[in-house]
Every structure is written in C-alpha cells, then in structure tokens.
C-alpha cells in the first residue's frame, strides 16, 4: 500500500509537509495534550505579566511585615490583606513569591534550552556536513557528555564557578547541547544524502546556505521534540541545583529556592511554604513533558526514549 505514494519527490519534504503543522495537528488530536498545552500557555502568560498580577512585590522589604511570618493559607495580614497561600518565614505572600519564582524558573529553563538548542544543532549540523575529523571530535565530546549524568556535571561545574543566573544557564547549556547535537547530526546524515541537497550543492549554493537554509529545516522534527523535553529538564535541573544551594542566589529566588526555604519548616507542620511552589513546579514540568511526549509520538515515533 505504501508503494502507491512512494513516488519520488523533487522538492524538499519540509516545504510540502511542515513539522510545525504536523505537530500542531497531532497535538490537537489528543485532549490530554491540548489541556497540557493550554496550561503551559497560561503559566507562560502568568510569568510574563507576573508583577501586574501578584498581590504584592515579595522582594520589596517595605511591604513585608515580620509579624505576618509563617501564616497558614487564607490568613489575613496585619494590614487586612488575605494571604491565599499563606506566608513564608519573612512574612512574604506565597502566591506573589510563586509568581515571581515562576518567572525566574521559566526564564532560566527556556533561555538555557534555546541556547543549548542553537549551540547543539549548529555543532551537530556542521559535524554531519563536514564529516571527517571535526565530526569525530564533536561526537567523542557528545559521547563523553552523555556518558555522565547531567545533574552531576552541572553540580560540579557550579561548585567550581559559584552561584549566579548566568552561571546556572552556562552549566545547563553545557550539559544539554550534546543531546541536540546527536539528534541533529543523526537527522542531518539521513537528509544529507537525499536528492534535494545534492541539487542545492550542484546549484552552487554556499555551504552555510545549504546547512541552515536546506538541511536544518528538515531536521526540525527531532529538534522540536527534544527542545520541548529539554526545557522541562532544564527547569527541573535548575530547581534541583537551587534547592541544593548551588544554583541561583537568594536574591533571585526560583521555585526551587522557595521549596528549599520551606524544607526547614516542613517537619514543624508549615507545609504550605514548600508544598505550593512544588505543586506549581510539578504542574509546569508535567505539562511541558505531556506536550513533548505527544510531539514525539506525532513527529518521530522511533525517537530514542527520554
């Protein structure tokens, strides 16, 4: 049956059958994925307009009152304001702190994911196209990076570098680029031998033009899938590093840091300080993963697990 539509196609497949269009159509067919995508979008929106939405600026020391510290959810402040999700040890409104934390977490995760995607796919693409020694060196590096647990590498790196947003992003990029490089190289090697690339070469197009104009669009499927999942990984990894005390500094608290703050008082029953930020983090990572998982099914059922 497949023989019927196996007629040779002269145009690049990307032009007739865009992975983005397929991804959107595939997502729409799964109610679970649609819900997850809506949740993702809502969380992203919340993060973007965060300060306008938050009941207070949790890092403005003038509005904090130590008398409001560790109030359970639903309590009222000395000034008559209701803390729907309670307050932390400094009398900070948890809801506001979470909205600000979400901003930080999403920024770090998405930024690190995007940079890793760019670095990784540029290296993977070039390796596939050039082959030879460059390819060997890049792939050895990829093997080495993937051979070690990402969390451990990031941990050691940050232990050497110290805390900071830029350093965390750097560490995350360093541990994540290899996944992209491997996937893109694999896809590019398949595409490279197809007719349309040969045609482009014979037309005398420049190398960068062929690489990024022709080869890259046809490696989009694995990139979309891995990119989605890696953003979720980056957010989770940042939270973990911050929880361990070697990620973001206390001046820029992400969700992970909020949870860490709640850890000390968890045993004494003040559960809300760590439970609510944790639930938010879980919702965020879970819905991104659901979307990513669906994308993988739609775009590339044979993609390696994880």
């Amino acid at each position: 049956m497949t023989t019927l539509d196996a007629a040779p196609r002269a145009v690049a497949p990307a032009e007739s059958d865009s992975p983005l269009a397929r991804a959107a159509a595939g997502l729409a067919r799964s109610p679970k994925a649609v819900v997850a995508a809506i949740v993702c979008a809502l969380l992203l929106l919340t993060a973007l307009v965060g300060p306008a939405l938050a009941p207070q600026n949790p890092y403005d020391l003038n509005v904090l009152d130590i008398m409001d510290a560790k109030l359970p959810p639903g309590s009222e402040s000395m000034a008559g304001q209701t803390f729907w999700l309670g307050t932390d040890g400094q009398g900070r409104d948890m809801l506001s702190a979470m909205i600000y934390g979400l901003r930080t977490s999403l920024f770090v995760g998405v930024f690190a994911g995007v940079v890793a995607l760019m670095v990784g796919s540029a290296l993977g693409l070039t390796a596939a196209f050039l082959g030879g020694r460059f390819d060997t060196i890049v792939m050895r590096l990829v093997d080495l990076m993937l051979g070690f647990p990402t969390l451990l590498v990031a941990l050691i790196l940050l232990a050497l570098l110290g805390q900071g947003v830029g350093k965390v992003i750097f560490a995350l990029v360093l541990v994540q680029w290899a996944m992209f490089a491997r996937a893109v190289r694999g896809a590019a090697l398949v595409e490279k031998n197809k007719d349309y690339i040969e045609a482009a070469t014979m037309l005398g197009l420049s190398r960068p033009r062929i690489l990024f104009g022709h080869l890259l669009p046809n490696c989009l499927s694995p990139l979309i899938v891995i990119g989605t999942l890696q953003v979720a990984n980056a957010i989770a990894a940042e939270a973990t590093l911050s929880f361990l005390g070697i990620g973001l500094p206390i001046t820029q608290p992400s969700l992970g840091l909020l949870i860490a703050n709640g850890f000390q008082v968890l045993l004494s029953g003040q559960y809300w300080i760590s439970v609510y930020p944790g639930l938010l983090l879980l919702t965020l990572v879970f819905s991104i993963n659901i979307v990513g998982d669906r994308l993988r099914e739609v775009l590339n059922p044979r993609l390696a697990e994880r």
Binding site: G147, P149, L151, L160, I259, N289
Partner: protein, 324 residues
C-alpha cells in the same frame, strides 16, 4: 571474548585518564590552586609550606604528573574539615550510597517491568494511558520535592517511617547493610522509593517500547503458530529480547542513580557520598570534591564495562561475533 574485554578495558583507561586531566585542569589550573586546596583559615606559614609541597612553582605538565602519581598511590589529598585522607572518607561512605542505589534499582525493575508489559501488551487501552501518564508524572516530579512530600506524608502526618538517617545496620554475608535489621529497613524505605521513582518511570517506558517493537515481529507470530501459550511468549520470547536494551540502559542509569543520590541523600540525611559531596562543596572542602569525582568516574567506568560484558552474554549475536 578476550579481545573484546581487552579492547573495552583500554577504552576505559582512556576515559579515566581524560577525566583525571579535566579534573586536574578544573581544580588546579582554573583559578588559584592554593586557594582551592588550602584551608581558607590557614596561616601564611602553612600556606607557603603547602604551596612548596605541591610544587606550584613548577610547570603545569610536571604538576599534572605529580597529581597522577599521587592519585595512583591512592593519595587524593586530605580533607580540611575531617583532617583525613579524602579517599578514605569517600570509600567509608560509599557502601551506604551503593546500598541505596541497589535497592532503588531493584524497586524500579520489580515494578517497572510488569507495568511496562501491561502497558505494552494493550497499547492505547485505558490501562496503557494510565500507566504512561503516570510515568510522565514520574519523570516530571522534582526529585527533591517528591522526597519532601514523602517525608511530610509518611513521617510527619502518618508517622509510619523515620524521615532521616540510616538506622541500625547489620551484616549479611560479611557486608554491612541496612537490609539486615528492621530498623535499618524502615530507614531505607523512603529514600530508596524516592530514588527509585524516576528510574521506575524510565523502566516502564523502555519495557513498553520494547514490547511494542517486539510483538509484531515474525518470530512472535511463529511462536504462536507453534502453539506456545501467550504467557510463555511474553515471559520468554519477548522479555528475553527486550532484556538486551533494558540491561544496557539500566547499567548506564546506575551512574545517574548515584548522581541523583546527591539529592535524595541530602533530603533524607543519608550518610552516603552524595551528602558528603554537598557538605564538602558548602564547606569548600575541595580535596573531597576531587576524590569524589575520581571515585565516581571510576565507578562509572566499571559499571559501563560490566554492562558491555552482560550485554554480550545476553545477546548471542554479539557474543559470537566479537569473540571469534
């Protein structure tokens, strides 16, 4: 077989050497080695003495040689905090970490393979959907938060299990382990479950994928045509086939279990090398960090090597192909 083993051994040594070089460059060459290796509260006299004994005035390759020679003698420096050789600190804590990882992997396999089979044999069914969504949830749960929730539910609210520490250990076959005593087991359950959940999700997915790829193969149909029971087909033909990729991935993942152990050990105050690592990073006890790295990398190499050998035992095609 021998050729295969020797080749793998050589590859392993190269990786170890590369790691040693990277660690050396990381700790000794970036920044001020003296600051990293000498306790922050050392007197200027102590500082000068250590700098001289480290030979910091000598060129970098010579320093690297000294580092390697010392490392080969098992000397990876002394801990500032504990004032002990860092390597013996690490080795002393290693059994607790390995025990935790071992129990976690057993939990992950014991639950993950049956669940993965269940999901893979009835793809797109409600059972499959539930198991797969559960496994995505398992991937998404932030490990540290999940650990805190376990403590909150089972220690604080229900009061069933202790929340921190390792408890009493006993010996089984000469190995000191928590598995030997009831108290030890009670302390082990929460951290082990916490560490296992992520891998459980992975084992489920791997098994399901394996089942779905194997079931349509001709040899499964042929096994049916022989009149074998569905039970034997799944438990022997399919399971043996998917064991090959499963063992490979799980072997690799033991490494990441040790890494994730850092988080679990921190939350549950489990006295393993992960907690030691975090404590040492916080206290700037860098010789311990260096020792941790080299020990863990060596561990990875041993693990990867074991996996490769196991792999060749499980897959007869490789065994004969490479052994000839």
């Amino acid at each position: 077989m021998t050729v295969f083993v020797i080749r793998r051994l050589l590859q392993s040594l190269v990786v170890l050497a590369a790691t040693a070089a990277i660690v050396f460059v990381g700790v000794y060459a970036i920044g001020d080695p003296a600051e990293m290796l000498i306790a922050p509260d050392a007197t200027p006299a102590e500082r000068a003495q250590v700098e001289a004994s480290l030979g910091l005035d000598r060129p970098l390759p010579a320093q690297f040689l000294t580092f390697v020679v010392n490392a080969l003698h098992g000397d990876l420096g002394r801990s500032f905090v504990f004032n002990q050789p860092s390597i013996s600190l690490i080795l002393g804590r290693l059994p607790a970490t390995l025990e935790l990882a071992f129990v976690a992997i057993v939990i992950a396999l014991a639950l993950g393979i049956p669940l993965g089979l269940l999901a893979g044999l009835k793809p797109r069914s409600a059972t499959d959907e539930a198991i797969m969504t559960g496994s995505i949830l398992g991937f998404s749960l932030p490990n540290f938060w999940q650990g805190m929730m376990l403590i909150m539910i089972f220690s604080v609210w229900l009061g069933w299990l202790p929340s921190t520490g390792r408890g009493t250990t006993g010996t089984i076959f000469g190995v000191e382990t928590s598995l030997a005593t009831w108290d030890g087991l009670r302390h082990l359950i929460l951290p082990a479950v916490n560490l296992a959940l992520f891998k459980l999700a992975l084992v489920i997915r791997l098994t399901r994928t394996g089942v779905r790829e194997t079931m349509p193969l001709d040899f499964v149909k042929f096994a049916r045509a022989k009149g074998l029971t569905e039970r034997r087909i799944v438990l022997v033909h399919v399971l043996k086939t998917i064991m090959v990729p499963l063992v490979t991935v799980i072997g690799m993942e033991i490494g990441s279990l040790i890494a994730f152990g850092v988080v679990t050990e921190t939350i549950f105050a489990w006295p393993g090398i992960g907690k030691l690592l975090i404590d040492s990073i916080m206290r700037l006890d860098r010789p311990v960090v260096v020792a941790y790295l080299l020990v863990v990398v060596s561990l990875f190499i041993v693990l990867n090597f074991t996996v490769d050998v196991l792999y060749s035992i499980l897959d007869p095609r490789i065994r004969v192909g490479r052994g000839a």
